[in-house]
C-alpha cells in the first residue's frame, strides 16, 4: 500500500505543477483530456489505497476525485470534469449491461414478486416519510417558503420521489468488486433495479402534478406516453442492441471489449438523445443476451471485466470531482436531516417488510440501499430544467444529499455484502 500512496502523491504533485504552470499560461486550451488522464490514474491508485485500509475501491475513486476536483484542491478544472459526461454515460451502460447478464428468467421467477412487493413497501414508506419531512421544512427551505400549500405539497412530492431513488451503479460496482454471489446479493441487485423503475414512474406522475399545481394543466396522455416510451422504448432498443451484439459475436467476433465499449457508448449517447433510459437500454440488452445465449453472456461479462477497470475508475473519480462540496455549506443542515430521515425510513421498512425466511435481508438489506448516484443526479438535473423557477434550488439540495450518500453509501453496501457472508474477497484487482 505504501507504493500506491507514493504513486498517488507523485501524481498529485504533478497535477499541482501543471496548475502552477497554468497560472503562467493564462490562455489555456481544452481540459477534458487532462481531467480524464489525471482522474483515471489518481482513481486507480486511490482505489488501491482504499483497498489497503479496508474500504471499497470505489470509495477511493470517489474521494480522490473530490480531493483533486474543482471544489477542493482545484487541480482539475471544472470544465474538464463537465466534459467527461460521455464517460459517465458509457460507464452506466457498461455496468448495466453486466448487471443485465445476471437477470435470468429463473431468478426473476424465484424472487421477482417478493422483490417487487418489498420494493413497493420500501419506496412507499421512504416516500411518505421524506414527503412529510420536506413539507415540514417548508418554512426553512427558501424555494418552498413562498409557495401556496398545494404547490408546496406537489413540490414536496416531486422532491421526495427523487430522494427515494437508489443507485444501481454503485451497488453493481461493489458486487463486481467483492465478487459477491448468493441469494442476498441477487435480492439486493434486483431491488435497486426495480426500485429505479418505480422511481421513474413516480417521478413522471409527481412532475405532472407539480406542473398542474403551477397552472400548467395535467396532461395524462403526455404523462403516460412519456413514461411508456422511457420504459418500453428502452426495452425495445435494448433488445435491438442485444441482437446486434449477438450477430457481431457470431459473425465478426474480433476485439470484443472494444466493440462493447463502442456499443455502450452508442447506447448511452443515443438513449439520452431519444429520451430513453441508458440504464434500462443496457440492462434489457444484457438480460436478453443472458436468456438467449448463456455462453455468449459469459463472454460479455468477461470482456467487460477486462475493459471495465479504466472506465469504472474514471467514472467514479469524475463523479467525486463533480460533487459540489460548497452545497453542503448552504443547504447542509436540511440535506443532512433528509439523509438521516431517508436512512431511518429505509432501515425500518426493510426490518418490517423484508421476507422473514432470510434474516439477513431484515438485518443488512437497508445498508445496500443507501447509495445514490447517477439516476438521482439525472432526476435532479431534470427538475432544474423542467422547473426553472425553483428547480435549481431543489437540485442544490439533492446534490448535497448525493454528496453525503456517495461517501457513505459504498462503504455500507460493502458492509452489507460482507455481513451477508456472500463476498469472495477482493483478489482480482481488475474489477471495479
Amino acid at each position: 500500500m505504501t507504493g500506491a500512496i507514493v504513486r498517488l502523491g507523485l501524481l498529485v504533485v504533478l497535477l499541482a505543477g501543471i496548475t502552477r504552470v497554468q497560472v503562467w499560461r493564462v490562455d489555456t486550451g481544452t481540459s477534458v483530456m487532462l481531467a480524464a488522464g489525471a482522474l483515471l490514474l489518481c482513481g486507480l491508485f486511490a482505489g488501491k489505497v482504499a483497498k489497503g485500509v479496508g474500504l471499497p475501491r470505489l470509495t477511493g475513486y470517489l474521494l480522490v476525485g473530490v480531493v483533486v476536483g474543482p471544489y477542493a484542491l482545484g487541480f482539475i478544472p471544472g470544465a474538464g470534469v463537465k466534459g467527461l459526461e460521455l464517460v459517465k454515460g458509457l460507464a452506466v451502460s457498461l455496468i448495466a449491461l453486466v448487471a443485465g447478464t445476471e437477470l435470468h428468467l429463473g431468478l426473476i421467477r424465484r424472487v421477482g414478486i417478493k422483490v417487487a412487493v418489498l420494493c413497493a413497501a420500501v419506496c412507499g414508506v421512504t416516500f411518505v416519510v421524506c414527503f412529510g419531512a420536506v413539507f415540514a421544512l417548508k418554512p426553512v427551505l427558501p424555494f418552498l417558503a413562498a409557495m401556496t400549500v398545494p404547490q408546496a405539497l406537489a413540490v414536496s412530492a416531486l422532491v421526495s420521489t427523487v430522494v427515494v431513488s437508489f443507485s444501481p451503479t454503485v451497488t453493481i460496482a461493489i458486487v463486481q468488486e467483492t465478487q459477491a454471489r448468493g441469494p442476498f446479493t441477487e435480492f439486493l441487485m434486483a431491488l435497486v433495479i426495480i426500485g429505479d423503475l418505480f422511481v421513474m414512474v413516480a417521478f413522471a406522475l409527481a412532475a405532472g402534478i407539480t406542473k398542474a399545481s403551477f397552472g400548467g394543466g395535467f396532461d395524462v396522455q403526455g404523462l403516460l406516453g412519456g413514461v411508456g416510451w422511457e420504459l418500453f422504448g428502452s426495452v425495445a432498443v435494448g433488445g435491438l442492441l442485444a441482437l446486434a451484439l449477438l450477430v457481431y459475436m457470431k459473425r465478426v467476433n474480433r476485439e470484443l471489449p472494444l466493440f462493447l465499449v463502442g456499443l455502450c457508448f452508442a447506447a448511452a449517447e443515443g438513449g439520452a438523445r431519444l429520451h430513453l433510459s441508458p440504464l434500462m437500454v443496457a440492462l434489457s440488452a444484457g438480460a436478453l443476451i443472458a436468456n438467449l445465449d448463456e455462453r455468449e453472456s459469459q463472454r460479455v461479462h468477461h470482456a467487460i471485466q477486462l475493459a471495465g477497470l479504466p472506465v469504472f475508475a474514471l467514472f467514479f473519480a469524475a463523479a467525486g470531482a463533480g460533487l459540489k462540496l460548497d452545497t453542503l455549506v448552504t443547504v447542509g443542515p436540511a440535506a443532512l436531516l433528509l439523509v438521516v430521515v431517508r436512512a431511518v425510513a429505509i432501515h425500518l421498512s426493510c426490518r418490517r417488510f423484508a421476507p422473514p425466511e432470510d434474516p439477513r435481508l431484515r438485518r443488512y438489506l437497508w445498508m445496500g440501499l443507501i447509495s445514490q448516484a447517477g439516476v438521482t443526479f439525472g432526476l435532479a438535473a431534470l427538475v432544474a430544467r423542467t422547473f426553472p423557477d425553483f428547480g435549481p434550488q431543489v437540485e442544490v439540495l439533492i446534490v448535497a444529499m448525493i454528496t453525503t450518500h456517495e461517501l457513505v453509501g459504498p462503504v455500507l453496501t460493502r458492509k452489507a455484502l460482507e455481513r451477508s457472508g456472500e463476498t469472495r474477497g477482493d483478489e482480482r484487482p481488475h474489477v471495479a
Binding site: 504533478l14 489555456t28 481531467a35 491508485f45 477497470l309
Partner: protein, 400 residues
C-alpha cells in the same frame, strides 16, 4: 451529439473499410491501398467535414479537440517508445547518415523551391514563407515503411531488405519532429524566446510524464491495470499539453522516449497495451485531421503538384545517396528511393499539430497541401514499390 456522430461515422467507415469487396486490390486497387494505410479515413473526414458536406461543423471539431489531442498524444508516445536507446546505440553510424540523407535531400528539394513559390502565391513576408516551406519540407522528408514490411511479410521481398527500408523510414521521423519544433519556436508565440519556452515546456512535461509512467507501471502485474495505467498516462500527457496549449505530439514523443529510457521491463508491456488501441486511435485521428481539410483552398491546389513532384525527386536522389552511404552496413533494395515514396500518417500529424497551435491562413495552406499530398503519395507509392519488387526479382536472375 457530435461525439455520437463521429462514433457512428467511424463505425460505419470501419465496416466499409473492412469490406472484402472494397479491399480487393484487383477490383479497386487505389481504394484498397488507401484503406490499408488508413488514409481512406482522411478522405472520408475531408468529405464529411465542414469544408465539404458539413456533417461535422467547425463547432463540432472544436468540441472534439480532446479526441484529436488523445490521438496525437498516442502517436507521439508510440513514436517515442520506438526510440529505444539501447537499439539505437547498436546501429552503425552510416545508418543514421543514410536516414539523414534521404530525409534531408527531400527536405531541401521541397523547402527551398517552395519558399519562393509561397512568397509569390501568398504574398507572405519572407520569414513566414520560409517557415511554411520548411514545414512542408519536414512533412516531405518523412517516409513510411509499411510497403517494405508488407513486402517481406508476404515473402515478396527479402526480410533483411524490408527491415533495412523500415529502419531508414523510422529514423527519418527525427527530421520531421525537429523541424516541427523549430516551426513552433518561431510561430507558436509572440517571440522566438517565448516559443522556445513553450517547446521546452512540452518536452519537459513529456519527460516528467514519461518518468512518472515508468514509476507507475513498475511492479504492476495485472494486465488490466497495466492497460489502464498506460491509457491514463497517454491521456495525462496529451491532456496536460493540450490544456497548456503546447505541442501534444512533442510532449508524447518525449514521454515515450523517457519511458523507453528508464522504463525497464514494463516498457514492452506498455507498448503492447497501447498497441491494442493504436489502430482505432490512428483511424480516428486521421479522420478528424481530414475534417480540417479545406478542399477549396486554391493556393494549396497550386502548390500541390510542385510539392509532390519535388518530394518524388528528392526521395529518388536522397535514396541513391543513402544507398551509397550505407551500402556496406545495411542490405537495401537497389532502387531505394522508390521504396521511400509512401509518406504515412506522421506527416499529417505534424501539420495538424501546427494548424492547431498556429492557426491561420498559412498553416491551413500547409495542412491542405500535406494532407492531399499524403493521399497522392500513397497511391504513387504502390506503383513505385512495384518497381522495387520487380528490380528485386530481376536482380538474382542477372546475378545468376
Amino acid at each position: 451529439m457530435q461525439a455520437l456522430l463521429v462514433f457512428l461515422a467511424i463505425a460505419a467507415l470501419s465496416l466499409l473499410a473492412s469490406s472484402r469487396t472494397l479491399l480487393d486490390p484487383s477490383r479497386f486497387p487505389g481504394v484498397a491501398q488507401l484503406a490499408a494505410s488508413g488514409l481512406l479515413f482522411l478522405v472520408f473526414g475531408a468529405l464529411l467535414g465542414p469544408g465539404q458536406i458539413g456533417v461535422l461543423s467547425v463547432a463540432d471539431l472544436d468540441g472534439l479537440r480532446p479526441v484529436l489531442a488523445l490521438g496525437l498524444g498516442t502517436a507521439g508516445v508510440i513514436l517515442g517508445l520506438n526510440l529505444e536507446p539501447r537499439l539505437l546505440r547498436l546501429l552503425p553510424r552510416p545508418v543514421f547518415s543514410a536516414a539523414l540523407a534521404h530525409a534531408g535531400v527531400a527536405f531541401l528539394f521541397v523547402a527551398v523551391p517552395l519558399s519562393g513559390a509561397l512568397v509569390l502565391t501568398t504574398r507572405l513576408p519572407l520569414p513566414a514563407a520560409v517557415g511554411g516551406a520548411a514545414l512542408l519540407g519536414a512533412a516531405a522528408s518523412l517516409s513510411s515503411g509499411h510497403f517494405a514490411v508488407l513486402g517481406y511479410r508476404s515473402g515478396r521481398m527479402e526480410r533483411s531488405r524490408g527491415l533495412g527500408v523500415a529502419l531508414l523510414t523510422m529514423l527519418d521521423d527525427g527530421v520531421g519532429l525537429g523541424v516541427l519544433a523549430l516551426a513552433l519556436v518561431l510561430g507558436a508565440a509572440a517571440s522566438p524566446t517565448e516559443g522556445l519556452g513553450l517547446v521546452s515546456l512540452a518536452l519537459l512535461l513529456g519527460m516528467l510524464c514519461g518518468g512518472l509512467l515508468a514509476f507507475l507501471t513498475y511492479a504492476l502485474k495485472d494486465p488490466a491495470e497495466l492497460v489502464a495505467v498506460a491509457l491514463g498516462g497517454v491521456a495525462l500527457v496529451a491532456g496536460a499539453a493540450a490544456y497548456l496549449r503546447v505541442s501534444v505530439l512533442l510532449a508524447g514523443v518525449a514521454c515515450g522516449a523517457t519511458l523507453a529510457l528508464v522504463g525497464g521491463r514494463a516498457v514492452g508491456q506498455v507498448a503492447r497495451a497501447l498497441g491494442r488501441f493504436e489502430r482505432p486511435t490512428y483511424l480516428v485521428l486521421v479522420f478528424l485531421a481530414g475534417c480540417h481539410l479545406q478542399a477549396r483552398d486554391k493556393e494549396a491546389w497550386l502548390l500541390l503538384p510542385g510539392y509532390v513532384a519535388l518530394r518524388f525527386l528528392g526521395k529518388i536522389l536522397g535514396g541513391r545517396l543513402a544507398h551509397r552511404l550505407v551500402a556496406n552496413a545495411l542490405d537495401l533494395p537497389p532502387r531505394l528511393g522508390l521504396a521511400l515514396i509512401a509518406q504515412g500518417g506522421l506527416a499529417v500529424c505534424l501539420v495538424v499539430e501546427y494548424l492547431l497551435l498556429v492557426p491561420g491562413e498559412l498553416s491551413q495552406h500547409i495542412f491542405d497541401v500535406v494532407a492531399l499530398g499524403a493521399v497522392i503519395n500513397e497511391v504513387l507509392a504502390r506503383r513505385a514499390f512495384r518497381q522495387v519488387l520487380e528490380s528485386h526479382r530481376a536482380a538474382p536472375r542477372s546475378a545468376a
